[in-house]
Amino acid sequence: MTSPAIVAERLGRRLGPDFALEGITFDAQPGEVVALLGPNGAGKTTTVRLLNGLLLPGGGRARVLGLDPATEGEALRRRTGVLTENAGLDDRLSALENLVFTGRIRGMASAEATRRAQELLERFGLGDRAERPVQGASTGQRRRIALARALLHDPEVLFLDEPTSGLDPAGTRDVVELIASLARERGRTVLLCTHFLGEAHRLASRVVLLAEGRLRAFGRPEDLARELWPALAVDLDLGGPASAATVELARSCAGVVGVEATATGAQAQVVDRSAVPILVGTLVSREVPVFAAVPRPPTLEDLYFALQTAPAEPGP
């Protein structure tokens, strides 16, 4: 079994009187995308700063690529790439100069840094503005330049804070596909901080949910959903609200744990999908018209809002 690329164990840090990150525990395997979710001020950026050695932990420990960010930060930062929430580009420099500067700090020769920077800027459709000052670039262009900068040295671990913020739909799709391919094909580990739950759902195999500096949940969305909602909801379109008799009939079916009438029929709670044909068959056999039966597995959005109000995970 390979060792995790990122490990956080009861990681914490107090920042001033109003905010403290406490007991954050999660991991990310090599080649995995893990989404760090939570509202503004939840502690996502603080977590990234702790994992990349910008902040020293007040409690717990972290290992990234087997290195301790608190004591081996410089060695670690050679192998990680960060896209910060703010693009953080120097407006007075061109896109190319911003990237080449980063490459030089990372130990790349000037020619190599320039070649790689041009390659990435072309890749992000910015070849024509590579030599122009960043000042005047749109939000989306800045985002793409900053992403190119984070990828310049082909890092093993990427911390990406809102990578698609400010991008148009085509740019968003491009970046999402790039992140997916970096993880899937190149084995890069990505810690993705995002407010776009659809993006997280598409990319991440596991999610870390934070709120007010506390860990609310960590795991695969399906597993977390199963813990919260043991039953699967199924919408039954019966052409009108289900009668009390129909509700009772549905309730009596094997695998059905609950039924409620709705405006268009009923919503049944079943133990799993295998209960759906039995339920439909029973209703039809009693001449109850079933126009549609649609399982409604909880979305990441359902999970996100449900967990926001859940109590914080207790420390081990």
Binding site: L55, R77, R78, G88, L89, T102, R104
Partner: protein, 269 residues
Amino acid sequence: MSAVDWRAVRAVVAKDLTAVRRAKAVVIPMVVVPAILLVILPALVAFGARNASPDISRFLAQLPGDLAAPIRALPAHEQLVVLVNGYLLAPLFLIVPLMVSSVLAADAFAGEKERRTLEGLLHLPIAERDLFLAKLLGAFLPAVAISWLGFLCFAVVSNVVAWPVLHRIFVPTQLWLVMIAWVAPAVAALGLGVMVRVSARARTTQEASQLGGAVILPLIFLAVGQSSGLLLLSVPVAMAVGATVWVIALWLCGRGAVRFTRDRMAPAL
């Protein structure tokens, strides 16, 4: 302790200087102030001395002790140009390294916060010590270079324009050389030290400049007042004054270095 990564240091210095060269608000005062103090003013004085021989004996009489003795020994038509260009402008000269290093240091330290580029920089694999050193050098080296270049212009202008009056090269004197080589870099380092400390608290370049100005302006007046006499003193005294400024500047920079850590800076981003 690991060796300094000079490649990274050079990269930061080069980046800072490239960025500064493109910022008019930073470049204009760095060009205009030295041009006025070190070219236009001495040229006007020398031109004036060519066309008139004002009586400055009353002014010389007010100088304490023997300070005026070297001037009084000169022929009357030489006294004005030698007094102003040879002595009185020297303290003003110190404004140049002080101002340039302060402006550049504010841009290098507080400016990174203001432009929101500091976090990206802190996420790079550069040791805090090397980053701090690069930021210091990025302000110190141009301050010294501009001061020396300015002095070269000053010496050429003063000597050329005053040639019809003096018929000899009168700048630099030995004391001027001490000022240029020893005191001016110390003053540049002092401006730097003050701004490093101030920038740790300021969130913008303007705020840093205002806070720094409150500290630096009295120092300028002190320097001007002291240096008028300094040039009429001996070389060892000038050396001692420079050494004192160096000690204060290095202490300030050292204190700044201790506080220049990612863990201190990151929470304020």
